[in-house]
Structure formats: structure tokens, C-alpha cells
């Protein structure tokens, strides 16, 4: 079981309200990703759930029981830290077995669980090494191993992949997703990378300055962003956000068009190509359209458009409309 409910959870450090008040429901078995720019309070929120920080007000309940005042160890949650936080003087085996030892588990049963975790994580050959003798990806796996042996109610991950190089990151991302498929345990995953959020999450929680901007499935957020912040944050390259007369034409303060929803050829917007990047599979071009601004366009790999060309653009796909407060219009 791993059902977590936050009710009006608030956190301030001295004068500063880092989390002004959050309500959130996390269902058992869900993969929830907290995403938002750096410094928006993602780690703080995760640490509140873990019990490593005290809430200023509000309640946190885990599986229906009030856990607000429980110490971290009593909450039945396991956490994977950004720095991995492995114990450097212990072997991989001792690291993974530490929570079991602390729980006073029978050594034979602990050994079985360590072996099982090690084989799931491909660490069997490294059990006697110290963390200092492992690569970044292996250390990450040890940290995950230490979390899974306890069979916690939920896993908490705080930007676990940010110290890995790009290739390893993609691999570990898939491994964590697969782990979730096989364990079916609740996971809360913090990241500032919207690609990680989109690829892994059942449910994304977009945070901005300690506030929840929107909660929803990845595609829900992509197709129906509730406000300008979410529209700009989800999707890569970023959605084009246009204000002024062009927006007024659509009866909105701001309109948004995703780069992949704009076609090059014939259309109402005309401008000169600034940057053009050709990746083979896709082409990314920036077009300076007078009166509207720089428009990002994502075209097919065959798009033969280069720096200095004059092109016409057609916002063929969905136009998102927002009011003066940044909220989406129906």
C-alpha cells in the first residue's frame, strides 16, 4: 500500500514561505512526478513527505493514517537522494543491507533479499566493492537497491539522474520505469527535466514557486495546459507564446502554438529564418516574424530551409488561448 494525501501542507523557512499550501492526492501504485524549475520547492515538498522536514501547518497522511508527526523511519517510505548518499565505508552489500540490519531482520532472510535486489539491479558482481569503486550509474543502482530491499510503501526519488551523463540517464530512466512496472509500488519522482516527467509519469504535478500549477497525465498537460506557465514548461521545444494584436484576433490575451503544430509553406505569418538546426530526423528553425516575434518551428528532417531564407508559416494545429491572468480560455 502506498496512498499519500497532502492536506493544506505549508512550509516556511523563517520568513520565507517556500510551500504556501499544497493539496495533493497520490493513489497507491501511481508514478507521480513533481516537475518545476530549480528552486520551486520540489525537494522541500518531497522532504516533507519523507519526514526529513517538519510541516509548518497542514497534514500528511499515508495509507489513511495521519503521518504528519511521525519520524521518517516510521513512515515506511524509502528515498533515493540526488547525491546517492551511500555509506562510503560499507561494501555494496552492507549498504543495501543496512535498512534490514536496522530493522533487526534475520540475517538469512536479509541475505536473500539483498541477493534478489542485486540481481534485479545487475549488481551481483559488485557486492563486495566499496561505493568509491563504482561508476555513477552503479552507485545509483546501489541507492535504488538500498531502497527496494525494505519493500517500502512508496519510493521517493530526488533528481536521481541529474549526476549521470546523457546516455546513462536515458538508460536509468527506462530501468526505473521498468522497476515501477514490476514492483507496482507508489513512486514519487522529483525532476526539473520535463522530458523525464513526460516519459515516466502516470501523473505529473507541475510546481511553480511552491504552488501546484496543474496536476494531470502527461498528455493531458500537453494538450490542455491550464495556464501559460504549464503551456511553456511542458513540451520541447517550448510552445510559442504570442501576445498583442495577433492574440487579440483570437479573442485572447496570449495565444500559444506548439512548434510541431506549425507548418512551413503557405500561411499567414511570414518571416526570415534565423537559426536552423537539422538533426536528420527533425529540423528546428527559428523564424523572425515582424509584429509577432521569434517563432520556433519543428519540421520534418527533409525541411530544406536555411538561415536567411524567407518563409511563410501556418499555425495549422491547435491554438491555445489564455486570458490576461494567464489562465486557459475554453
Amino acid at each position: 500500500m502506498g496512498q499519500i494525501t497532502l492536506n493544506q501542507v505549508r512550509k516556511s523557512f523563517g520568513e520565507v514561505d517556500v510551500i504556501p499550501g499544497v493539496d495533493l492526492d497520490i493513489k497507491d501504485g501511481e508514478f507521480v512526478v513533481f516537475v518545476g524549475p530549480s528552486g520551486c520547492g520540489k525537494s522541500t515538498l518531497l522532504r516533507l513527505i519523507a519526514g526529513l522536514e517538519d510541516t509548518t501547518s497542514g497534514t500528511i497522511s499515508i495509507d489513511g493514517k495521519d503521518a504528519t508527526a511521525l519520524p521518517p523511519a516510521k513512515r515506511g517510505l524509502a528515498m533515493v537522494f540526488q547525491s546517492y548518499a551511500l555509506y562510503p565505508h560499507m561494501s555494496v552489500k552492507k549498504n543495501i543491507g543496512f535498512p534490514l540490519k536496522m530493522a533487526g531482520m534475520d540475517p538469512a532472510e536479509a541475505e536473500k533479499r539483498i541477493q534478489r535486489a542485486a540481481s534485479v539491479l545487475n549488481l551481483t558482481n559488485y557486492l563486495d566493492r566499496k561505493p568509491g569503486q563504482l561508476s555513477g550509474g552503479q552507485r545509483q543502482r546501489v541507492a535504488i537497491g538500498r531502497a527496494i530491499v525494505r519493500e517500502p510503501a512508496a519510493f521517493l526519488f530526488d533528481e536521481p539522474l541529474s549526476n549521470l551523463d546523457a546516455a546513462l540517464r536515458v538508460g536509468m530512466r527506462q530501468e526505473i520505469s521498468e522497476l515501477h512496472q514490476s514492483l507496482k509500488t507508489t513512486m514519487i519522482y522529483v525532476t526539473h527535466d520535463q522530458v523525464e516527467a513526460m516519459t515516466m509519469a502516470d501523473k505529473i504535478v507541475v510546481l511553480n514557486a511552491g504552488r501546484i500549477e496543474q496536476v494531470g497525465s502527461p498528455l493531458d498537460l500537453y494538450h490542455n495546459p491550464k495556464n501559460v506557465f504549464v503551456a511553456g514548461f511542458i513540451g520541447s521545444p517550448k510552445m510559442n507564446l504570442i501576445e498583442g494584436p495577433e492574440a487579440a484576433k483570437h479573442g485572447a490575451h496570449t495565444i500559444g502554438a506548439r512548434p510541431e503544430h506549425i507548418t512551413v509553406g503557405d500561411g499567414p505569418w511570414e518571416g526570415v529564418v534565423g537559426l536552423s538546426e537539422h538533426l536528420g530526423s527533425d529540423s528546428f528553425i527559428k523564424v523572425d516574424v515582424p509584429g509577432i516575434g521569434i517563432i520556433n518551428v519543428r519540421g520534418s528532417g527533409e525541411l530544406g530551409v536555411h538561415h536567411g531564407d524567407r518563409v511563410k508559416l501556418n499555425p495549422a494545429g491547435k491554438i491555445h488561448r489564455f486570458d490576461a491572468n494567464g489562465l486557459a480560455l475554453a
Binding site: 519523507a50 526529513l52 519520524p71 521518517p72 523511519a73 517510505l77 524509502a78 528515498m79 537522494f81 540526488q82 547525491s83 548518499a85 551511500l86 555509506y87 562510503p88 565505508h89 560499507m90 543496512f98 535498512p99 536496522m102 530493522a103 538500498r146 525494505r150
Partner: protein, 290 residues
């Protein structure tokens, strides 16, 4: 330092200091060895000559000698035990975020700045003195007889005073080690269900082993030669109850004015120090490697 010529240059450049150090060390040592085989008493300087190992055998057969060796080891061991245990506890305490942390830390460090004879005099006269001392007035206030610290427990008193002086050093080194421990490791242990005691036992203590090793090695070097505190308080007495090897050598050189015997004692002290160093490096030296 890769090429042949740069290695040669490096050797040439460190050569002067190596030579100075060698001379600095070798000449006194050679002189001590020379005198330790000579008859050389300042009371009768005209009687000289080679005496073989007689200075050494006198030392080893003297009833004071084994007492002095055991007192020396007791002093080193006792002070190390006290400073490391209490140094760790104080370091844990002042690492907590408490009000007035800055001044508190300076206060904790301050005994280290008091000169050994001064510290010893303060403890002897203001605290442990059977008539004027604070402990005596406490004892009288409670209707008990004052404890005669320097007479009844001379070695324990000396160990206590020296430990008081060295506690700040140990605390300081252990505190810096404590502060270099990542808080995420402690938080991870907390999530893993480790109690405060288990966190200390399995996370903090292993993290501090290297610092503890440094404290042991450095303090041992200095503690083997402790002299001033004994000279100002017990003078090695009563009898020779608090005579250590350095103090016994001092008594031979200054009181008995027998340079030959004192030199022999010095050589024995050097051998003792080397034996201690050997066992220390065997026992805990591996903690110094990263």
C-alpha cells in the same frame, strides 16, 4: 616530476633542508649515544672514561625505571582515552545548531592557549589544593575531608590536567571531521530506520576514524615527552609515584647531575618512542590511507 632532469632538480632543491634536518637530528643523537657510554658527572668532572653499558644497566635495574615506563604509558593511554571520548562527545554537542555557537566554540578551544605550567599551577593551586582549592571547599561544604589530590592520586591528577589541556585539540580535529560528514548520509540512515545511537555507531564513527587516528598519532608524540605539568605539580612524587621517563631523565641530569646516566635514559626513551610508534602504525596506520 616526470622527467629525469626535473627529478634531479627537485632532489637538489630539497637537499639543503634534508641535510639541515639530518644534522639537527643526528648530532644531538650521536652526542647522547656518546655520553651514554661515558662516565660524566658534573659533580666530579675530572673523572671521565668509558663505562660500557653500566649507565644502561643502572637505569634498567633501578626500581624507579619500570615505574617510570608504566607511568609514561599510563599517562599517554589515559590522556588519549579521555581526550578522544570526551572530544567526540563535545564535538557532537557543539556541532548542533545552538544559540551562541561561535563564542562557545572559542571557549571550548581556549584551554589549548594556556601554557602547560600555568595550566598545571591553576589546577593544582586553585582547584586541587587541599586547603585553598575549590574541590576542598566543596568537600568541606559537604562535610567530607578534602581529597589530597597530589599525594593520594598523583598520577590521576597529572593525567587529568594534561587531558584538560589536550581536550581542545582533540575536539577541534574531531569537530572538523564531523562537519565534513554529508547531512544526506545521516538523513539516508534516518530513513533507513537507524536510531541516533546506530547513526553514531555505523555512520558518524566510521567517518571519524581517520581524524581519531590523527589525534592519536599527534598526541602520542607530544604526550611521551610531557614534563612541565609534572614538574610544576607533583615533582614526580610522592616518592616516584608520578615519575615518568622524561622526568626520571631530568632527575638524573639536573638533580643527580649525572650526564652519562641521563643520556642513557634518553636513548632508552628514543627506543621506547620507536616501539610505541611501530605498534601504533601497525595497529591504526592503515586508517590514514584514503
Amino acid at each position: 616530476m616526470a622527467t629525469q632532469s626535473s627529478r634531479l632538480a627537485a632532489r637538489l632543491m630539497v637537499a639543503p633542508s634534508v641535510i639541515v634536518l639530518l644534522v639537527w637530528m643526528a648530532i644531538p643523537l650521536a652526542m647522547a649515544i656518546y655520553y651514554s657510554f661515558r662516565l660524566y658527572r658534573l659533580i666530579s668532572p675530572e673523572r671521565t672514561g668509558w663505562v660500557g653499558f653500566r649507565n644502561y644497566t643502572w637505569f634498567i635495574n633501578s626500581p624507579e625505571f619500570w615505574m617510570a615506563i608504566s607511568n609514561t604509558l599510563l599517562l599517554v593511554g589515559g590522556v588519549l582515552a579521555i581526550t578522544i571520548v570526551f572530544g567526540t562527545l563535545i564535538a557532537l554537542l557543539i556541532d548542533q545548531p545552538i544559540w551562541g555557537q561561535g563564542p562557545l566554540r572559542i571557549l571550548v578551544i581556549s584551554p589549548f592557549f594556556v601554557m602547560p605550567p600555568v595550566a598545571a599551577s591553576i589546577w593544582e593551586n586553585l582547584f586541587m589544593h587541599p586547603q585553598n582549592g575549590m574541590f576542598a571547599s566543596f568537600a568541606q561544604g559537604l562535610g567530607m575531608k578534602p581529597i589530597l589530590f597530589m599525594e593520594s592520586y598523583p598520577m590521576a591528577s597529572v593525567i587529568f590536567i594534561v587531558a584538560w589541556e589536550w581536550l581542545p585539540f582533540a575536539t577541534l580535529i574531531l569537530l572538523t571531521a564531523l562537519q565534513s560528514l554529508s547531512s544526506e548520509q545521516l538523513e539516508a540512515a534516518e530513513m533507513d530506520g537507524a536510531s541516533a545511537v546506530s547513526r553514531f555507531r555505523y555512520i558518524i564513527l566510521p567517518h571519524m576514524t581517520r581524524a581519531i587516528t590523527v589525534v592519536i598519532l599527534i598526541q602520542t608524540i607530544f604526550l611521551l615527552g610531557i614534563f612541565g605539568e609534572i614538574f610544576t605539580t607533583t615533582q614526580g612524587g610522592p616518592g616516584s609515584a608520578s615519575t615518568t621517563l622524561p622526568y626520571m631523565i631530568f632527575k638524573q641530569a639536573i638533580a643527580a647531575k649525572d650526564i652519562g646516566r641521563a643520556a642513557a635514559g634518553g636513548i632508552i626513551a628514543v627506543i621506547l618512542a620507536n616501539i610505541v610508534a611501530y605498534f601504533l602504525m601497525r595497529g591504526i596506520g592503515r586508517h590514514l590511507d584514503a
